[in-house]
């Protein structure tokens, strides 16, 4: 993926298998979010393809979602003026069908489909623990719950692969742990998860495999131990040997600065 003369992501080969949690880490500006944007069709890759379950995906976001890839965003992008339930229902768009006429005439089939869809949405809200807030406007939810709702909305499209872009950015340790459990629960549903995160403890606890992206290229990929032991990673990304003690406070600050990196990439 190139933006003018700047190559943001170059030859990143990547496979995520079903029921697996894979982490994607890298310093700010490494191209992690750009990589996600390529996967989901927001950017058209200059070269290369994205394939899902053996078929090459067209670079059209709505078709990518239909194929079974869903994502959340680094900065929350809920439909702020819709209710919690409506947000999830929008997420179900590709999994529901409705002809213009059946909607206008409100036939029995339409009502049944609508009801089934709502039930499914409520199940998801129960899964993430927001069922009691179904009629609240999304913008009135506390920050942590907005993040959860984003995940629920992504799950609503019944994906096979879920992309999480910094799901714990700005969360306190307690919320981070809750998110960890949520991601495990999602994995247990048989969904493959690819997660970008700056919180190293979170990543190394969670992921079966971790890949490191540096300046748009994949440096290493392997289990937590392999990645943590790799000196190039330490040099490029951590700067010093990883110690899971005081760095926990860093992610919030780093998350802020990635926004400016994105601007630079464009």
């Amino acid at each position: 993926m190139r933006f003018g003369g700047l190559t943001a992501v170059r030859s990143v080969d990547f496979t995520v298998n079903a029921g697996e949690i894979v982490g994607l880490i890298g310093p700010n500006g490494a191209g992690k979010t750009t990589f996600f944007n390529c996967l989901t069709g927001l950017y058209v890759p200059t070269e290369g393809t994205v394939s899902y379950q053996g078929t090459v995906l067209p670079p059209k976001p709505h078709l990518v979602t239909k194929a079974g890839i869903a994502r959340t965003f680094q900065n929350i992008r809920l439909f702020a003026n819709m209710t919690v339930l409506e947000n999830v229902l929008v997420g179900r768009h590709t999994r529901t069908k409705e002809g213009l006429w059946s909607a206008l005439l409100r036939g029995p089939g339409f009502k049944r489909a609508e009801k089934a869809s709502e039930e499914r949405a409520m199940e998801l809200l129960e899964f993430i623990g927001l069922a009691h807030k179904r009629d609240h406007l999304a913008r009135n939810l506390p920050y942590g719950e907005q993040r959860k709702l984003e995940i629920a909305r992504a799950l609503a499209s019944e994906p096979g692969l879920l992309l999480l872009d910094e799901p714990t950015a700005g969360m306190n340790p307690q919320e981070t742990r809750a998110t960890e459990e949520l991601v495990f629960a999602i994995r247990d549903k048989g969904i493959a998860v690819l997660v970008i995160e700056h919180d190293m403890r979170f990543i190394f606890n969670l992921c079966d495999r971790v890949a490191v992206l540096v300046q748009g290229e994949k440096l290493v990929e392997g289990t937590s131990d392999v990645v943590q032991a790799d000196e190039r990673v330490v040099a490029a990304y951590l700067g010093e040997p990883f110690e899971p003690t005081p760095e926990d406070t860093q992610p919030a600050a780093e998350a802020e600065s990635t926004t400016s990196t994105k601007g630079e990439a464009q």
Binding site: K60, H62, A80, V90, T96, A103, E114
Partner: protein, 309 residues
């Protein structure tokens, strides 16, 4: 004799017509932030579409009960085709262009449509007569015609249908989502191009309904009819809070009533004898717009961003 009830009724009727057209401005603006200045001409082509059905397709002497629905369909088809065609060939290629480009395109398209109708539609260089529905009914001191009844019924059916569609149906939800955040909506699996086409089509159809009402009420149509009606409807949309469908209807009614009452009564105020009459109606309409925008720049219902769609 007390003329107030009659004037109020006239205002409401005019206002419903403005409101129906205003929907087209407001839906398109809500979704693509484009002011479709050619919408007045979409209204005008709808009237000519309906006239075509009546004058060239139906046999002479067809009863109006049969003719009106068919004219509605004919006008609707023409307006929707023009609206969707404008989106596809004029606005979509400019979606990423600076905001001024589509605006200028809209104005150009508006002139082009007027000239096409004037030059190619038989007899359209002058006003053409349109079949009117003028059977009248007296309700108390108010007299209304069949055309008025048609307009009121059509406006109520269209508006309540649209309100339901946007709030409750899957496509309506997708429209709200697209209005709030098109990129995210795409990632939710919504084909935003399709949603935009639907918004243009609904606006076009509503314009055609207004156009048929206009013809039935006034008995003639012309290639320039879209200009002032479009401008007024745009005013109504802005006054109600552009992007908000309820605002468009409210703005239309407020504008219609204010305009009618002002032209009927303002000359009774001492010292303003010269300022009454229909010649001044537009002046008062736009004065009202300026006043509303001074005190509520977002329009009457502008804060309810939730319903922009």
């Amino acid at each position: 004799m007390n003329t107030l009830p009659q004037q109020l009724a006239n205002g409401l009727l005019l206002g419903s017509m403005y409101g129906l057209i205003a929907i087209g401005y407001t839906m398109v603006y809500g979704i693509v932030q484009l002011i479709n200045f050619a919408h007045g001409e979409i209204f005008m082509t709808g009237a000519f579409g309906a006239l075509t059905v009546y004058a060239y397709i139906l046999p002479d002497g067809t009863s109006m009960v049969v003719a009106v629905p068919l004219m509605l369909i004919g006008g609707g088809i023409v307006s929707v085709l023009v609206a969707v065609g404008a989106e596809r060939f004029a606005y979509r290629p400019l979606r990423q262009a600076p905001r001024l480009a589509p605006l200028i395109t809209a104005i150009g398209l508006s002139l082009a449509l007027q000239e096409v109708v004037r030059n190619f539609y038989p007899g359209a260089d002058k006003d053409r007569s349109f079949p009117s529905l003028d059977g009248s009914h007296d309700i108390g001191s108010v007299t209304i015609t069949d055309a008025d009844i048609f307009l009121v019924v059509a406006a109520i059916v269209c508006m309540s249908g649209l309100a339901w569609f946007v709030r409750k149906s899957r496509t309506g939800r997708a429209m709200q989502a697209t209005a709030q955040d098109p990129d995210t909506s795409q990632l939710m699996g919504i084909d935003t191009n399709r949603i935009i086409v639907i918004a243009f089509a609904i606006g076009g159809f509503f314009a055609a309904v207004a156009a048929v009402s206009y013809g039935l009420k006034y008995g003639n149509i012309g290639y320039r009819m879209g200009f002032l009606m479009g401008l007024k409807a745009f005013t109504a949309a802005v006054m109600g809070g552009i992007g908000n469908i309820y605002g468009a209807m409210l703005g239309g009614v407020v504008l219609g009533v204010a305009e009618t009452l002002a032209s009927a009564y303002i000359n009774h105020i001492p010292g303003m004898q010269q300022l009454g009459g229909s010649g001044w109606a537009n002046v008062w309409a736009f004065c009202l717009l300026i006043l509303v925008l001074l005190f509520r720049p977002q329009g009457l219902l502008g804060e309810r961003v939730a319903d922009r769609a």
